[in-house]
């Protein structure tokens, strides 16, 4: 089964779960006066879930013939692309998300930028370091001072 049909299957699951929540779980807790309304909070979701299930089934059952064509990236040969780099970058983003608060903005951002270009194969440290540090400082200055959004600059234990 091709990837687009797998995705349709997953989406069908989402639509079914959503439909179940809309049809069977929402109306019970509705206040009595709201039941006299022609529209309930669940009305629109009910319509959507039905439409979604229909659309997913159209793809899943192959009613609409997809023409096979050369895609931008062929997912069947994913290994031939720079998959490792992409995955490492995604991992780096997750680590960054987790570190941003405890490590402080300045440390985690400069580390992110340096490691990001390192993962992509850059080894010119004399360019990487200044670029990352300057960018971090400039962005921090802009966000904190110009836009006025607080971001803890340094780790908590350094008093940041």
């Amino acid at each position: 089964m091709a990837l687009d049909r797998w995705i349709a299957l997953v989406l069908l699951g989402i639509c079914l779960a959503y439909g179940y929540a809309a049809w069977f779980t929402m109306d019970g807790s509705l206040a009595p006066f709201m039941k006299r309304n022609p529209i309930w909070p669940s009305t629109f979701p009910k319509v959507l879930s039905v439409l979604g299930i229909i659309a997913c089934s159209v793809i899943l059952l192959g009613f609409e013939k997809a023409e096979v064509k050369e895609a931008d990236i062929d997912y069947r040969r994913l290994g031939e692309y720079h998959l490792g780099q992409a995955l490492m970058l995604l991992g780096l983003m997750v680590v960054y998300a987790l570190c941003l608060r405890p490590m402080g903005f300045l440390l985690s951002t400069s580390a992110f930028l340096i490691l990001g270009s390192f993962i992509l194969g850059e080894r010119k440290w004399h360019i990487m370091l200044p670029v990352a540090l300057c960018a971090t400082l400039v962005v921090w200055y802009l966000v904190q001072q110009v836009l006025g959004i607080y971001m803890r600059p340094l780790p908590g234990f350094w008093g940041g």
Partner: protein
């Protein structure tokens, strides 16, 4: 109208707004040149900046500047490298790249700039005429018609925006609508579908979703498939064009500005279709001997798509500013930014906030002028800068998407959501599911449900559909658009490698 024009001029010519136009155009040109990064990514990245400025006119001017700057930059990379950054400029590479190969890169860039300028300017003039007219009609609309109009818009997007499969685009639209129902709606004051998670109480963040749908997958695609950029052939010199050439492209520009504008007004069509159609039309009506030149460096073949895509970009502002219904991914993002700034585009915009409406139109003229006189001479230098930085660029793009999501919500959970959605969006992109309909559905979802609920309440049930002929008519059109997918096969052919989903 004269009064409006003067208000617009006054607002647009403030120092701050002039800087916004210039800055937006430069940033847009710079990013639009990068193959693979479309205007939607860069606009998504710019939104937090625009929103935190707090001034809706300035924000919209900045974002609009970025938009046409990106289209302009996209045509530059189509001409110089045969690597269009934006789907709307693919057609420009048909004749632009051969011209560059023949050593006429400078001339090609000038023609592209003049054609873009003329297309954008004539488009803005048409916008000035048609938007007020359309919005006075739209004032007669009832919430039932609004609901129907949104259904038409969404189905038109489903019918035109994908690459040949209506069902996929429909799923994405419905998924967007489903995501819009998560959280607390204004109408019912009830949390829905939050699964008890507090962070979902206010729904999904629009910026997070926009970044995850466009910026992140495009950046990942850049990592996965590295295209080595070869420098343009030879130097960019001799930017002049002769009088005879100017006379040859004049009628092309005239025709394509008007045609492109009206295609841009249609929801879901936009710059890509306008540019291909413009190219095809001009080739068909050209004299026989010139027809053979198309594809080998014809100046008409370059001027046509360039004019049409810029006029279409301007045209796509018509439904946004008059009806509050975005017809493309880019205008959907603009709509989201405006709502975040507490401005609701729609027919009342021109009456309630004339300075925003007219300032945006005025800034379009200024922006086109900026692109012509400021960017054109700078192009050789900007193009040089782009040869350097792949390894630096991608971490920065990722960093800016993260920062945008973080600034929007000030919440680190949002960053994890961003990465999660980004991975889902990349998988969807692999399987050729169009992503723009999802975001448009997400943004329109809330408004659509509100209008639906209002008309249900007014008519005490579903009766509004057959009691109001206009609503019924619009819904019938929507159904036809979904059922009639024959337009779409044509569109699929035009997809080229490494091109982001244009607008």
């Amino acid at each position: 109208m004269l009064e409006g024009l003067l208000i617009g001029l006054q607002t647009a010519f403030s120092i701050q707004n002039l800087l916004m136009v210039i800055g937006g155009c430069l940033i847009g040109t710079f990013i639009g040149m990068l193959p693979g990064l479309g205007p939607m990514s860069i606009i998504a990245i710019m939104i937090p900046v625009a929103i935190s400025m707090g001034d809706p006119s300035a924000a919209l001017i900045l974002l609009a500047g970025v938009y046409y700057g990106a289209i302009f930059g996209g045509s530059t990379s189509s001409i110089l490298l045969n690597a269009p950054g934006v789907a709307g400029t693919v057609a420009s590479s048909f004749d632009g790249y051969p011209m560059a190969r023949q050593g006429k890169a400078g001339k090609a860039l000038t023609i592209a700039a003049i054609a873009s300028f003329a297309g954008g300017t004539i488009g803005a003039l048409l916008l000035m005429v048609f938007a007020p007219a359309l919005s006075s009609v739209a004032l007669l609309f009832h919430s039932a018609e609004y609901f129907a109009l949104m259904v038409v818009g969404l189905s038109a997007i489903a019918a035109f925006a994908g690459t040949g499969q209506v069902a996929k685009a429909m799923i994405m639209t419905i998924l967007g609508l489903i995501m819009a129902t998560v959280g607390e709606g204004a109408l019912f004051n009830l949390p829905r579908f939050t699964m008890g998670i507090m962070d979902l109480q206010s729904g999904f963040g629009f910026i997070t979703l926009a970044m995850a749908m466009f910026a992140l997958p495009e950046a990942l695609f850049l990592v996965l498939k590295r295209k080595e950029l070869k420098g343009g052939e030879g130097e960019i010199k001799d930017l002049r064009i002769t009088r005879a050439e100017a006379r040859a492209i004049m009628p092309v520009i005239g025709r394509q500005s008007i045609q492109g504008f009206f295609i841009g007004v249609l929801p879901g069509a936009g710059a890509t279709i306008a540019s291909f159609l413009g190219y095809a039309v001009e080739r068909n009506i050209a004299p026989k001997e010139e027809q053979d030149q198309f594809g080998k460096g014809s100046i008409k073949g370059l001027a046509a798509p360039e004019t049409a895509n810029n006029a279409a970009c301007t045209g796509s502002f018509v439904p946004l500013l008059t009806l509050g219904i975005p017809g493309s991914g880019t205008t959907a993002i603009l709509l989201g930014a405006l709502i975040a700034l507490n401005v609701t585009p729609g027919p009342r915009l021109m009456i309630d906030e004339p300075q925003i409406f007219w300032a945006v139109i005025m800034s379009m003229f200024i922006g086109n002028l900026v692109l012509l006189i400021l960017n054109l001479p700078l192009i050789p230098y900007i193009a040089k800068v782009l040869a350097v930085p792949r390894n630096y660029l991608i971490p920065f793009i990722l960093f800016f998407t993260l920062m945008g999501a973080y600034i929007g919500q000030n919440n680190a959970t949002e960053l994890l959501l961003l990465v999660g959605f980004g991975i889902c969006a990349t998988a969807l992109k692999f399987a050729d599911y169009p992503l723009a309909p999802l975001l448009i559905g997400f943004i329109l979802g809330g408004m659509m449900e509100d209008n639906f609920a209002r008309s249900m309440q007014l008519y005490d049930g579903i009766g509004f559909i057959w009691e109001r002929p206009m609503t019924l008519g619009l819904l019938v059109i929507a159904a036809i658009l979904i059922v009639l997918p024959s337009y779409r096969a044509r569109r699929a052919k035009y997809r080229a490698d490494g091109v982001s989903d244009g607008d």
